[in-house]
């Protein structure tokens, strides 16, 4: 291990983020400090509009904090967006290929990798389909494959399975968990769904609403593989939900 490859993948220190100016100024994040460990599966949980997407934008470097610092310790952060956000003029395979092309990988190898990634998300043979020819769930899986194609050290996922039926979602949980374990990637996973967070996360960070602050951090000490409908998952989910209700209830929205 070199000095750069520290045990902390992301260091978020005293970060606030404002949008707009004057009377329309909105504070999305307020003094958020958080360390994400290398190789950890971290779930971000919070009510709608509490700044989860904003925080991911800061981690991936798409946005800059108003105050405070975000340090990704020389690691590259990739992003899977809230809606599948595929490029509509490219096929499924073409979308997955873009990050490979951007890294200068040769044509033959690209093709192989695209095949492998598509098989990984169980979409083998659908490389030539265009985004509009796929269902919402299939699009999200293409988006997932594209996110993995970036081979980033930190993978930020913004409600990736929000629009899926329960069964597809469960299957993709298994897939994601498997890939995470095989690659050792650090995952920062945003969700509204408490059970999903308990099912997947090593830790769960609960954000308060407007502006977002770290309200509480839960360690999930449940052995893997977990099942979303197991008693232990339900038990912890109840605790987290209670706490989440308090946070949401604090603001009269």
């Amino acid at each position: 291990m070199t000095a750069v490859r520290s045990d902390t993948a992301v260091r978020i220190d005293g970060v606030s983020r404002f949008f707009g100016s004057g009377a329309a100024r909105v504070q999305a994040l307020d003094n958020v400090s958080l360390d994400v460990r290398s190789g950890e599966f971290l779930c971000l949980l919070g009510a709608s509009g509490c700044g989860k997407s904003t925080l991911l934008g800061l981690i991936t470097g798409l946005d800059a904090p108003t105050t405070g610092t975000v340090d990704t310790t020389n690691r590259r952060a990739g992003m899977m967006f809230q809606d599948s956000a595929l490029l509509p003029w490219l096929t499924a395979g073409g979308n997955i290929e873009v990050p490979l092309r951007l890294r200068g990988i040769r044509r033959g190898e690209r093709r192989e990798r695209v095949e492998r990634l598509l098989a990984m998300v169980r979409l083998a043979g659908l490389a030539d389909k265009r985004p509009h020819e796929l269902s919402g769930g299939m699009r999200q899986r293409v988006s997932l494959a594209r996110a993995f194609a970036q081979e980033a050290d930190i993978l930020c996922m913004d409600e990736p399975f929000g629009a899926l039926d329960a069964m597809t979602r469960d299957l993709l949980h298994d897939e994601l968990e498997r890939i995470w374990r095989e690659t050792g990637v650090t995952v920062i996973f945003v969700t509204h769904d408490v059970r999903e967070a308990v099912r997947l996360g090593d830790r769960i960070v609960l954000l308060s609403s407007r502006p977002g602050r770290v309200a509480e951090v839960f360690d999930v000490d449940i052995e893997r593989p977990r099942r979303i409908d197991s008693a232990r998952v339900a038990e912890l989910a109840t605790v987290v939900t209670t706490r989440l209700r308090e946070e949401v209830g604090r603001h009269g929205h």
Binding site: A85, R122, M167, T168, R178, E182
Partner: protein, 356 residues
């Protein structure tokens, strides 16, 4: 955590078991779900689609010729001043056999293509520059639109003074006519690139040129294509005006023929030339519409075969393209369905019923 390494080994061993046992089941389950997901695509046979695209045009043309003939029959003007469509068409047909016709057409087309190509290059360069630079935008952004609205014919006195009666004078006006539309198409296209897609590109590591190549350019394509189409319309108009005014000795062209026929009081000849100009317009328009249609099909902006959707789509198609300044009637797109009749509500049978 002290237990971290231990934990992960345990996980790994479990992964192996886990995969072997459930991998196949997962495959099967997802395949089952996907079978429900994959939309079934039905395409009508080519002949039927070609017919559906052609018959309204043939009908409109027949109606026009009939009206023309009726006016001739009414005796409004003597027949040597206003000949019937039969005479004009047969003159056009007999011209097709002369080498002079093809020489003139070839020169006109070469002028059009050269002028248009130069206009496209200039338009794209200016468009990209303006869309990138706030200073340039403030400086020349509104001038481009002003230039676009200027009738090309007003440039000819200056062009003739600068270049005399030469090819350069025509080229000058064609380029000035077409380039602003192309530039505006590019500017609008870049302005309307969805910010989300730019973020997607940046998150994958694209920046600068690669961001343009992978995200901005393809996302801007619909508007750029609209600008190109509009630019062509302006180029063709400017060229025709130029060929009427700037007759270069020894250089036959469609416009020169037209002017020539007028001077000889040869109405049939005038009409034959106009038919030529019209046909070129129709062919080029069809080419642009094909490109546009292809792009929309690729991007899922067309629901094929559902007449309700086609009727509701309106005459223009793309919202982005609508942002470009519209030249007066430059988009004579006969292939587009008419705008939906608000009164006709849910009735989708109207047009298609007639076809069947």
């Amino acid at each position: 955590m002290a237990t971290e390494s231990g934990t992960s080994t345990r996980f790994r061993s479990q992964t192996a078991d886990f995969d072997a046992e459930t991998g196949l089941a997962v495959d099967a389950a997802l395949a089952g779900l996907d079978a429900l997901d994959i939309p079934t695509t039905q395409r009508r046979p080519l002949a039927s689609r070609a017919w559906a695209a052609t018959w309204p045009k043939i009908g409109a043309l027949a109606l026009f010729l009939l009206l023309w003939q009726l006016v001739v029959w009414s005796g409004w003007k003597p027949s040597y001043v206003l000949p019937g469509p039969g005479k004009a068409l047969s003159e056009f047909g007999s011209r097709l056999g002369t080498s002079h016709f093809w020489d003139a057409l070839a020169r006109t087309l070469v002028r059009a293509v050269e002028g248009y190509a130069l206009a496209v290059v200039i338009g794209v360069v200016v468009g990209v520059a303006v869309s990138r630079s706030t200073i340039l935008r403030t400086a020349v952004g509104s001038f481009i639109t002003a230039l676009q609205t200027m009738p090309s014919i007003v440039w000819f006195p200056l062009a003739i003074l600068l270049f005399k009666l030469s090819e350069s004078a025509i080229m000058f006006v064609v380029v000035l006519g077409a380039a602003p539309s192309v530039a505006n198409g590019v500017i609008y296209g870049v302005d309307y690139v969805p910010p989300l897609l730019v973020r997607v590109g940046r998150s994958m590591g694209a920046s600068g040129f690669s961001l343009y190549r992978y995200v901005v350019a393809p996302a801007a394509l619909p508007s750029v294509l609209a600008g190109l189409k509009q630019g062509w319309a302006f180029a063709w108009r400017s060229l025709m005006a130029g060929e009427l005014l700037v007759i270069v000795p020894g250089h036959p062209s469609v416009g020169a023929d037209l002017q020539n026929s007028r001077e000889l009081l040869d109405t049939v000849g005038v009409m034959a030339s106009m038919i030529t100009i019209f046909v070129v317009g129709v062919v080029v328009d069809a080419a642009f519409n094909t490109a546009d249609q292809r792009m929309r099909v690729r991007r899922g902006l067309v629901a094929e075969g559902t007449s309700a959707v086609r009727a509701a789509r309106g005459s223009r198609g793309l919202g982005v393209a609508g942002g470009a300044v519209d030249p007066v009637g430059s988009s004579g797109d006969g292939t587009m369905p008419p705008p939906a009749d608000p009164g006709a509500g849910g009735g989708d049978g109207g047009h298609s019923g007639g076809a069947g």
